[in-house]
């Protein structure tokens, strides 16, 4: 029987500091064993438990898209014991992972509709996976217009800057970037994400909204989406909670009768409105 | 005791009616015999639920941290009052120092000891004078109350909470211990090997539920050393070294701060003896610095001050 607590070995192929504050590092992991690679099937929005032996595990959303083969990408915010270790680990080292875990974004529900993606700060990882998935030639036709609003405190704190430039040049995606504090080279918008959303006012008609970011951003963005008449059933968010097992056993990440690790991390606002506010 | 209870209710009613306090923390009867439960009273009528008896075993000062924004009246025994004084010295009450409703303590009955003295489940226990009437399904016995006191109460030298703002009951003549706390003496008479065996045997039952920590008014650190991940001082499993580490550090953190109330030991579901360690430290502090926790409201705890005249003999 498969032991769901045993990590599979990955090799850190490439690591790169993403942001000017040097607190975010993107890791590109390759599979050590061919069979693991073949059996690893995921959808955007799922996460893994990254394991550093001797330190422990940390749950991280998969930032790469299933359409990108041969590696998995994670962007790590340096905060606790494990994430600090993930910042120091050298290329070529072994890192364990358990996953893919969680439900992921409801890809099928998005099909045939417009997609509005709203992200803030370093919570852009699985959103990047989602957008990259639908930008892939094989999947682009599945959704109609894609609009991405992505904000950070300052330009240097935006993730995946090269890719954002590339997205900007595309004509099958509308990208709006915004910062709280601009610098001299900044060409995007200046302002908080909720205000930018209000300003560009995307239509809610036949549109799904996915929103990930710091709690304060979510708190103020949600009413704006309501004002744009997005129904609760078509607003999705990915929650973060302290987690250990990642498979619905250890108990700590429940919100009401649902577990963020197993039944989430992606929930619709219709679901969340029925649960206690334990998040 | 009935008189004390009556006065306690009257005083509480008055305090709440005159809005001198927002909340009174006291003891109430609840579902188990030989026990009481902490109760939080906000209305004058609520005072009727207060009780006073030999089962009022919690140190209610432990709740004061939770209610720092309210004006709180708290029912305290001699030992509990000392904890509040110690907390006050540690500047734990920046907004409203609690109002101490002191009760002269007749010393508490050790429920675990009583249970061992009878066969079968105890369903009812009442005090009558010096006697404790204990009833079960097929038995009824009367026990001498003083034979069943908690170790910490047996050696109590401060039954009257002189520090209290309101004192209920007549001050009693305090005994002064000639030699030492009995549980400390018992431990000290052992050889070093026997002491270690005893300590290890006791701590081996520890579940790390931290009831001892949570029951103690002095354990209020925002992050206890056992919970810190950076740095990680201690592992979280049940290895003998981790259990020993927890119990030694817990006891040491109490040096010069412990009032010897024994709430830690009473809270332990595994009946682990704890007070022989803290009482030993209390005794050392008394011998070295002439200091007893919470007796003089202004005296700073010796381990948080420095005096060139301090004893140094133990530094080698």
């Amino acid at each position: 029987m498969k032991n769901p607590y045993l990590p599979i070995p990955m090799i850190l192929k490439k690591a790169q500091i993403e942001t000017s504050d040097r607190l975010l590092r993107t890791l590109e992991l390759g599979f050590k064993n061919k069979e693991d690679e073949e059996s690893f099937r995921f959808i955007p929005g799922q996460f893994c438990e990254l394991s550093i032996l001797g330190k422990g595990e940390a749950p991280l959303g998969i930032a790469s898209s299933p359409t990108e083969k041969g590696f998995l990408k994670f962007t790590v915010n340096k905060a606790g014991v494990v994430t600090t270790a993930l910042h120091h680990i050298e290329e070529g080292s072994e890192i364990g992972i358990r996953g893919p875990l969680g439900n992921g974004y409801p890809i099928n529900l998005f099909e045939g509709k417009n997609l509005l993606v709203i992200g803030g700060g370093f919570a852009f990882t699985t959103l990047r996976s989602l957008v990259a998935y639908f930008l892939h030639p094989e999947h682009r036709a599945k959704v109609k217009e894609i609009t991405v609003i992505y904000g950070a405190r300052m330009p240097g704190l935006l993730l995946y800057k090269d890719e954002l430039l590339e997205w900007e040049r595309r004509n099958d995606l509308k990208l709006v970037t915004t910062v709280d504090w601009e610098d001299k080279d900044w060409k995007g918008k200046v302002g908080l994400v909720p205000n930018v959303l209000e300003e560009i006012a995307p239509s809610s008609e036949n549109t799904s909204a996915v929103i990930c970011g710091p709690p304060i951003m979510i708190k103020f963005t949600f009413p704006k989406l309501m004002a744009l008449r997005f129904p609760n059933e078509r607003i999705f968010t990915s929650l973060e909670r302290r987690m250990k097992c990642g498979i619905g056993k250890c108990g700590r990440c429940n919100i009401g009768h649902l577990y963020v690790c197993k039944d989430g991390p992606v929930f619709s606002y219709a679901q969340l409105s029925k649960l206690p506010k334990d998040y | 005791m009935a008189m004390i209870q009556k006065k306690l209710r009257e005083k509480t009613k008055e305090l709440l009616a005159k809005k001198e306090v927002d909340l009174v923390i006291g003891f109430s009867d609840w579902t188990l015999p030989l026990r009481t439960t902490p109760i939080f009273i906000r209305t004058p009528e609520g005072a009727e639920h207060l009780v006073w008896n030999s089962f009022c075993e919690n140190n209610l000062a432990a709740y004061l941290h939770k209610f720092s924004r309210l004006k709180v009246g708290v029912v305290v025994k001699g030992c509990d009052a000392r904890s509040v004084v110690a907390l006050n010295l540690e500047k734990r009450f920046p907004n409203h120092p609690p109002l101490l409703i002191g009760v002269v303590c007749q010393r508490l009955v050790d429920r675990k000891k009583v249970k061992k003295a009878v066969k079968g489940e105890i369903l009812q226990a009442v005090e009558q004078g010096d006697l404790l009437l204990v009833k079960g399904e097929n038995f009824e016995v009367s026990l001498k109350r003083d034979d069943f006191l908690y170790p910490s109460c047996q050696s109590c030298t401060h039954r009257t909470p002189h520090q209290a703002h309101i004192l209920i009951g007549d001050p009693v003549e305090e005994v002064s211990l000639v030699e030492t706390h009995p549980e400390v003496g018992e431990f000290e008479r052992k050889s070093p090997e026997e002491r270690w065996d005893f300590f290890e045997k006791e701590t081996s039952r520890c579940l790390r539920c931290y009831a001892c920590r949570e029951a103690c008014p002095m354990c209020y650190c925002g992050e206890c050393f056992v919970d810190s991940s950076r740095p990680k001082w201690i592992e979280k499993s049940l290895s003998p070294s981790d259990l020993a580490f927890y119990h030694i550090v817990r006891a040491y953190h109490q040096t010069g701060r412990c009032s010897g109330c024994g709430a830690c030991e009473r809270a332990c579901p595994m009946d682990i003896r704890l007070t022989y360690l803290t009482q030993k430290l209390n005794q050392e502090v008394k011998d070295l610095y002439g200091f007893e926790t919470g007796i003089q409201p202004e005296a700073a705890p010796p381990l948080s001050t420095f005096d060139p005249e301090d004893q140094q003999g133990f530094i080698k």
């Binding site: 607590y5 072994e94 250990k244 108990g251 | 439960t37 109760i39 906000r42 931290y210 809270a267 009946d271």
Partner: protein, 349 residues
């Protein structure tokens, strides 16, 4: 199949079990404290305490358990999973509530998608000998919580204390494997009558007074009730109720390492500890005792029933008996039940 065992052969019987199995049973490290432990000598077994402090879950889901060991060599590592149990086990003297709790924990540990191999391995390799409760305590409310003092479900063999002898029922295939034990004898017809009598008395004593049935629906309406504002006040936030609870199954996973060797360990954890849900950022989704107490009670009586169709409480009464401040789960249940709410409001100011 029904048999009996003379009590004078009890220790020899245990010895005979130990020839083929690792035996686990209640022992008393000191008077007044009882835990389940691996037995070295039959004389250690002590059944005098009806409800041992540590529940039998400790045998299947130990408080502290090594999940796997590892060794690191340069950038490579080797892991060795520790789930395998070498010898078959017998759990003797667990009460029906504890045994029922094992099957409750099993619901979450043995899932459709993921199976907790550590739990399952122990579950599979353990034969459970249950022991009926002739004299339930006043804190017992198993019958209200869906069990009873003589519930056989979950046991492979079931013992009933008849004074001089134990009445023995072999209930499963695993249990039947012991039928040839040389100490078992045939039963007297009188014994059956005696069993009925004992059962009747115990059922009557334990009663059905705690309104557990329908609690899930009642609690649905109470998520934001002011009840939570007060009920938690006396809770000091220790883990007595959750660690001693036979159905509580939360755990933490930690690494313990020295130089290049280490192990990943899981330890019981408690939803009543503030650190349990505290996130690295400093945000705590359950910041006060109010949310934590609500989590404990709602998980048992609302969330768990929603997912598994049964309350996560077996009415053993441990959380009542051993709570340092007498938080009484029964009173909370009575409060939540409309019938008694009025009378109890007085007490829960």
């Amino acid at each position: 199949m029904k048999l009996k065992l003379d009590k004078k052969n009890f220790e020899d019987f245990l010895k005979s079990l130990m020839e083929e199995y690792d035996l686990y049973a209640p022992v008393q490290p000191v008077e007044g404290v009882s835990v389940f432990k691996k037995i070295e000598q039959p004389s250690e077994v002590n059944l005098t305490q009806l409800v041992p402090q540590k529940p039998a879950k400790d045998i299947f889901f130990p408080q502290s358990e090594v999940m796997f060991c590892y060794e690191m060599a340069g950038k490579q590592s080797r892991m060795n999973s520790m789930e395998e149990i070498k010898r078959e086990r017998i759990l003797f003297g667990a009460r029906p509530c504890d045994i029922e709790a094992i099957s409750i924990i099993e619901k979450i540990f043995v899932g459709e998608e993921y199976t907790d191999v550590y739990f399952l391995e122990k579950r599979r390799k353990t034969t459970i000998i249950g022991l009926g409760c002739n004299h339930p305590l006043s804190t017992c409310f198993c019958s209200s919580a869906g069990g009873d003092p003589f519930l056989r479900a979950g046991s492979d063999l079931f013992f009933i204390d008849l004074g001089e002898t134990y009445f023995v029922e072999l209930l499963t295939e695993k249990g039947a494997a012991l039928r040839k034990n040389r100490f078992f004898k045939e039963v007297d017809p009188n014994d059956l009558t005696l069993v009925k009598e004992l059962e009747g008395k115990a059922f009557e004593k334990v009663g059905y007074s705690i309104p557990v049935e329908g609690i899930e629906k009642r609690l649905d309406l109470m998520t934001e009730s002011s009840f939570w504002d007060r009920v938690h006040e006396k809770c000091i936030g220790c883990a007595v109720c959750t660690y001693l609870c036979p159905t509580c199954h939360c755990f933490d996973m930690v690494d313990e390492a020295l130089n290049n060797k280490g192990q990943r360990v899981r330890n019981w954890d408690s939803c009543l500890f503030p650190i349990y849900s505290l996130e690295t950022s400093g945000h705590n989704p359950r910041p006060t005792g109010r949310e934590r107490t609500r989590q404990r009670l709602m998980h048992k009586f609302n969330y768990f029933p929603k997912n598994f169709g049964r309350v996560a409480c077996v009415g053993c009464g441990r959380c009542i008996l051993y709570c340092p401040v007498q938080f009484d789960i029964r009173e909370a249940l009575l409060y939540a039940s409309a019938k008694r709410a009025k009378g109890l409001k007085r007490k829960f100011r």
